[in-house]
Every structure is written in C-alpha cells, then in structure tokens.
C-alpha cells in the first residue's frame, strides 16, 4: 500500500522536524478537490448559504406576514410550500429560517470543539492527575446530560438564540473531550510520538503537530455529525419552547410548530424536515471528504 507508506514516511519526516508545515494541509486540499462527493456537498452547502444570504430577493413574501384567510393552505403556485396556520408562507419561513439554523449548527459545534478538544487533548496526553481531574469534570457534565444541561443553561440565561447556541455547544463539548481523549490514548503510544519525544520536541509541539492531526478524523466525524446534532438539538429546544423567540422562523421551530398538524398539514413538517436533511447531508459529505483528505491512510 504505497499511500500508507508515504503517509507514515511523511509523518516520520515531520517527527524529525524536517517537513514543511504546509505539506499536510496542502496535500489535503488537493485530495479534497479530487473527491466528487465532497465537491457535491460543498456545492449544496454553498447554495444553502447563498440562499440564506439572498433570502429577501428570492421570495415576494415576508416571513412574519400573516394572512388569516390563507391559513393551512397546501403547496400551490402562490405558496410554493404551502402556509402555516397563520397563513405565513412556508417557503419564505424556511428560507429565512436557514439563516438562523445554519448559524446555530455551525456556531454551536465551534463552541463544543473549542471547549471539548483542548480538554480531551491535554487529558489524554498528560494522563495522570490532569487526566483524572479533566475527566472528572467531563463526567460531571455528562451526568447532567445534553438536553438537561441545555435546559439549565437556558433557565439561567433566558431563552434566546445566542443562549441556545451556547447551551447546545456546552452540552455537546464533553462528547468531543471524551472521543479526542480516546484517540489520543491510542496515538500517544505510536512510534512516531516516541520518536518525536526522543528527538526532544516540547510537549506542546508534540501535541499540536503529532497528536492533534491524528485526532482530526474523529473530530471531523463528530463535528460534521455535531452540526446536524446541533440543528436537531435546537429543534428539541424549540419543541420544549426554549429555542429562538417566536415569531422568528428557525427550522427546528418550524418542524415543532408543524407537529400538531401532522395529519392535516403534512407540508408543515415535511419541508422543514427536508431542509434539515439536505443541510445535514451536504455538511456530512463535505466532512467525509475532509476526513479522507486529512487522513490519507483511509483512501482506498
């Protein structure tokens, strides 16, 4: 397997501090461009982001404008995706909702990574007391799991978009810490780490240069799924009434508004659901491509 030999040769070269730092990311970028599914994911995601930005130009309706006589109307030429109970245009609401939802997904995961990865990395790397202390902290957070942690954060800070993102991000961070730690635990025993250590690299350098890249794959897997998870978690908060403040549309909120009308207005849940799936799918395709690009050993 030539790729795998090349990869380990390059990591060893890095371990000896000779390779240019650009090589890993540069190569990764080249590989990413070659992946068709990643390209597709990227295009869809870019399309969604563009639509979110250009929302007002793409629809004649106002997302908040009600029209009592038009309530609960199925999709038509006038209202492409139908209307909700207050006669608001669903297409418009989904379009404007994408602004909030994409933000929520990305920012929450960024928060989770910013908290979780350093904790997991240092716990796994240093081991001993650091590990124990950090993992106790993680355990502590996990004993008060996801949605409940989010609930308390929102109960304290009040329900709004920013707090929802913070809540979702904080509650997702222990998972990142744990998984990163597990990846570190197995990679710190690898020969190239020992080689780096023998070569006199500092701890910080070993962590950032040699161990972190090996945890990138699980971080990306978790992170891309996490964006999806965060959008869904925000939907769950909306279900409990603690997400974005109405009447601002958000995908999860739209879905949760529709749940009382499952049997009389299928469009109210179907289209926001499809919107979430499309976004999640594209983010995941892109994520898969990224992971393969960053971890060339997995290329077949």
């Amino acid at each position: 397997m030539p790729t795998s030999i090349r990869a380990s040769a390059s990591t060893e070269a890095q371990a000896l501090g000779r390779a240019a730092p650009r090589s890993l990311w540069g190569e990764a970028f080249l590989r990413l461009r070659r992946s068709k599914s990643a390209l597709l994911g990227g295009i869809i995601l870019a399309g969604l982001i563009a639509a979110a930005v250009a929302a007002p130009l793409l629809t004649p309706w106002d997302p908040l404008e009600m029209n009592a006589v038009d309530g609960l109307k199925p999709p038509s030429a006038r209202h492409w995706l139908g209307t909700d109970i207050l006669g608001r245009d669903l297409f418009t609401r989904i379009l404007f909702g994408s602004r909030i939802s994409l933000q929520t997904g990305l920012i929450s995961v960024a928060i989770a990574i910013l908290i979780g990865v350093p904790v997991g990395l240092s716990a796994g790397f240093y081991g001993g007391l650091t590990d124990r202390a950090m993992m106790r902290l993680v355990d502590l957070m996990l004993t008060f799991p996801g949605i409940l942690l989010a609930l308390v954060v929102i109960a304290i800070l009040g329900p709004n978009l920013l707090n929802a993102m913070l809540a979702v991000g904080i509650s997702a961070s222990p998972t990142f810490a744990r998984v990163v730690r597990a990846a570190v635990l197995s990679s710190r025993e690898q020969t190239y780490v020992e080689a780096a250590r023998a070569a006199g690299c500092t701890n910080a350098r070993i962590m950032l240069r040699h161990i972190l890249p090996n945890t990138v794959a699980p971080i990306i897997v978790l992170g891309t799924l996490g964006v999806a998870g965060a959008i869904i978690a925000a939907a769950a908060l909306s279900y409990l009434g603690l997400g974005t403040q109405p009447p601002t549309p958000e995908w999860g909120g739209l879905l949760s508004e529709g749940r009382n009308y499952l049997r009389v207005a299928w469009w109210m849940t179907t289209f926001p659901g499809l919107a979430i799936m499309t976004a999640v799918l594209s983010i995941n395709l892109l994520g898969d491509g990224l992971r393969d690009a960053l971890d060339p050993r997995l290329q077949s």
Binding site: M1, G128, D139, L140, T143, L148, A182, R297, L298
Partner: protein, 307 residues
C-alpha cells in the same frame, strides 16, 4: 485491576459531591422563587407566600440548606419534594426503573443497528452498500426525535396496529420508544464504527494476519470487530446517561414516566431536593457504566494501560 476499580469508585464520591453542589448552585442561579412558582397563577397573600417560603426552608442560609440535604444521604433519606412533599426516593423509584428499561432497550437497538450499518459500509467501502448504509445513518441523525416518534406511532400503531401508541406497561409497549430512541444513537454509532473499522483494516497487524493466510471472516472476527467494539463501547458509555435522562421527548411522546421528565419539571419548579436526588442517582449509574466502559478498553485493546 481490582485496585483500579476500587480507586475509581472512591474517586466517584467527590464527583458526585461536586455534581450535587454544582447542581444546587446552578439551580439557585435560575431566576424565580420556588414559593412563587408553587402558587403559580393562584391568588396568594404575602403572608401565605412567606409561610410557604419558610416551610420550604428557603429562608435559611444556602450552606445550611445544602448540608440538610447531605445529612440525610447516609440514612438513605433524600428528603421530600418542596413542591408536593412526596419523598424524593418515591418519586425516583418508578421513573428510574422505567427510564433504565427504555435506555437499555434503546442501547440494544442502537448497538445492533449501528454495528451492522457501520460494518456493512466499511467492508463495502465505496460501493452502493456503503452509500446506502450511510444514508440510513444520516437519516437517523437528521430526524428530530419527536418527528420520528410521531411517524412510528402513525405507521405502526394507527395504520398497521402492530404496537400500542402509548408506551407504559408490557413489553410490546417498549418496542416503538426503544426504536425511536435507539435509531438516533445508531446513526452516530454507525459512522464511528465505519471509520474505526476502516482504520483497523489498515493497521499492520491486520495486514500481517492477512498475509499469514487467515481467512477474511476470521480476520474480521478476531481483529476488526474487537477494535470496532472500542468505538461502540465508548459511544454507548457516553450515551447511556443521555439515554437515561435525556429521553424526555421520547418519553413524553410515548407517554412513559421517566427521570428526564421528572428533572425537567423539577427544574422548572425549582424543586431542589428532587433535582439533587435525581442527579445523584444518575451520577451513580453513570459512574458504574463508565467504569465498565474503561475496563472494557483494557480488555479490547491491550495497548491501553491504566496508570
């Protein structure tokens, strides 16, 4: 090994103490006076409000309130709800049993589904099987659970009549909630199994095993599966807590009593004893589960040492 277990269990005590203090403090940060919440939208005079505040013990210093809670624990007394004055243990008993049953059933669904989807797609990497399995997994993560649960009821209960719509009572009532709850975890699991299996397949020892002429099935059983289990065990350990107390929505939709619902209600009532009791209970279960998870690491991957 035994030493490790004992040490972990001893270490769990400070975790639980910390958890209970943290929860106690966090709850105090939540705005709202429990006595006011108690009266809700009922008429009340200031005198009655003050009296209830006193009965709830809210007029005492925080430290005393906390110590009172701690003092009862050795006797197994978790106190009574300040809201409806039911013993906390009584409130927890049936709900913990119900939630644990559901969590376990969901874990089985998640494990079976996640493992098979993950393996299928890893072994058939790049083919339509891979794509199909990952699409199913993806559908799992991108479906909000209340929607999935509602659909399951609509199809399997209303249309086909296979299972009851409400989920409290016999075993047949457990199926739909377990599938709903397990499916979401299965998706995460399938992805991690896939990537960990792919990683293992490229490890030198697999190549060695193959080159020694071992049959593929044996390679997979002996080496690949064992390593894939590390990912599974990690995720399941992580998710058990979530499944146990985070199943609020599933439990609400399927009309099952549960710890999550109890906690959500108790948080919104600022019912300190209930929240503290429940968190303590969950922390205990979580500690045990994760001890098992960590022990299984050592068994599954001898390179991982406990020091």
């Amino acid at each position: 090994m035994l030493q490790f277990v004992v040490r972990r269990l001893l270490l769990a005590i400070p975790t639980m103490v910390a958890a209970s203090i943290l929860v106690f403090l966090m709850l105090h940060l939540v705005p709202g006076d429990p006595a006011i919440i108690f009266f809700g939208d009922q008429p009340v005079t200031p005198e009655r409000l003050e009296l209830v505040r006193h009965q709830m013990g809210l007029d005492r210093p925080l430290v005393i309130q906390y110590l009172d809670f701690v003092r009862g624990i050795p006797r197994g007394d978790l106190g009574r709800s300040i809201h409806n004055r039911t013993p906390v243990f009584e409130e927890l008993r049936t709900r913990v049993a119900s939630s644990a049953t559901l969590a376990l059933a969901a874990l089985i669904v998640a494990g079976a589904l996640g493992l098979s989807l993950g393996l299928l797609s890893a072994l058939g990497r790049g083919t339509w099987i891979d794509a199909g399995a990952m699409l199913v997994a993806l559908a799992g993560v991108s479906m909000p659970i209340f929607w999935l649960a509602a659909m399951l009821i609509f199809v399997f209960s209303l249309r086909l009549g296979w299972f009851p719509a409400t989920g409290f009572g016999g075993w047949n009532r457990l199926v739909l909630p377990a599938v709903a709850l397990g499916f979401v975890s299965a998706a995460t699991l399938a992805r991690l199994v896939r990537s960990s299996v792919l990683e293992v397949l490229l490890q030198p020892f697999v190549t060695t095993a193959r080159s020694k002429g071992l049959r593929e099935a044996v390679v997979i059983r002996r080496h690949v599966l064992k390593n894939a289990f590390i990912a599974i065990v990690t995720v399941l350990g992580l998710q058990f807590g979530t499944l146990l107390s985070g199943a609020v929505i599933t439990e609400t939709v399927f009309a099952r009593p549960g710890v999550g619902k109890l906690l959500v209600d108790a948080i919104s009532n600022k019912d300190f004893p209930i929240v503290q009791g429940a968190v303590l209970f969950i922390a205990l279960i979580y500690t045990v589960i994760n001890l098992v998870v960590d022990l299984s690491y050592a068994y599954l991957d001898p390179r991982i040492r406990f020091d």
